[in-house]
Amino acid sequence: MKFTPRHIEDNINVSKTHPLAELGWLVGGLLLLVVVGYILLGVATEIAVARIPVGAEVWIGEHFTGKMDAQQSEALQGRLDKLLDVLPADSPLHEYDFSVQLVENEEINALALPGGLIVVFTGLVEQAESENELAMVLAHELGHFAHRDHLRRLGRGLSLALGAFLLLGEDSATADLVNRLFLVTERHYSREQESAADRFGLELLVAGYGHAGGATDFFARVGKDAGSRAPYLLASHPYPGDRVKELQGLIAAHGYRVDAVIPLGQDLLQDLPVSKESPGMEPASVAGQ
């Protein structure tokens, strides 16, 4: 065997691809995966929202209650129970075990949280002037439950949390972690969702009180104040003016009566941190009474 010394220039062991081109392909592929995952999660959420069992919802809801500094409100609970009593027999809402909490927050808002928890901010109760008006707000939130908007609002985190719940079970630390990481109230209700909840609320209000009095009061007042409180009011309850018009149209179309409203009960005002009747009073004079 003869040995012929020869230097081979071509190197078969090293790929010719430029490293930056390789990086481009890999990062591009990763981005594509993320985009596809995002779209799939969105689809999965839409499916999950319609089918999520109330049990899983309660479990998800427990993680929200933990984050809220709230107290059970007897007065509000009584009013909610009254509305629940007049629900149609076939309503899906009967599966829920609803509870109402009053949270000290000056925001004029109420929330529907997973698991049948309605949170009412003290700011809203301070603004409310009649029983009917407050009932309309509660009924409106029940409307969100009926349409499962409260779940849709959790967005893509919901399907992740539900997946973790179904795969890993209720007591799993990992499922808990997934819940904490991905479950954020990220979206506001859309205009259509609010309108649908308004329609539901109006029907329930009429069923409960026999007339539609007070249905538009709250939104009308909120709309008037919108100038000064625009940033958060518009964020949580958009288009107050349009909603008043829409509700009035519905009342006219159904031929609902609009009777006098019942003033807000005293038991509710006691729950508030600062009494509505004495906004400017000195603490000393309150003590002296």
Partner: protein
């Protein structure tokens, strides 16, 4: 300035990436240049993996020669490899690393053999090892070692 301080991790990562790419590319280019030059110079010194069979009295002397080298990974290559781990396929980023390490190890072995007056090397063997594999897991960058060893032969009549 605040943006940099708030996202220090991200900026550090990007800085290491750019550093890894520029320094890594320059080092690699220079290394290949040197490898090619030295390979050309040593091309006449035969290296075979075959076991040597020589006639009685043909071999004056034989001894072990070895050459080893450690080449470090860089952040850029590491990122490419991590991304590759997701999709599968050839980890092209590491190919040049291993190629350089092997060729450098053989060159060093040949240089040793020539310094000792050998005419050829038989029974060449190559080994590779990872250095700092555990360090790799702790978010650091590991290195690769290549070791070439063989039997250098000095012929009685070249």
């Amino acid at each position: 300035m605040n943006i940099i301080l708030n996202n220090l991790d991200l900026f550090l990562f990007l800085a290491l990436l750019v550093l890894g790419y520029t320094c890594g590319s320059i080092a690699e280019k220079r290394h290949y240049k040197s490898i090619r030059r030295r390979e050309q110079a040593l091309v006449k010194l035969a290296v075979v993996t075959a076991e040597g069979r020589f006639k009685e009295g043909a071999v004056k002397q034989s001894f072990l020669v070895n050459g080893s080298t450690v080449v470090s990974n860089d952040y850029f290559k590491r990122l490419l490899a991590i991304l590759r781990n997701i999709f599968g396929g050839r980890v092209k980023a590491y190919e040049s690393l291993i190629d350089r390490a092997r060729r450098e190890a053989i060159l060093r072995m040949k240089e040793e053999a020539r310094a000792k007056g050998a005419h050829m090397i038989v029974n060449l063997r190559l080994e590779t090892a990872t250095i700092g594999r555990s360090a790799n897991k702790k978010n650091r960058v590991g290195s690769i070692e290549a070791l070439a060893y063989g039997t250098a032969v000095v012929m009685a009549r070249p």
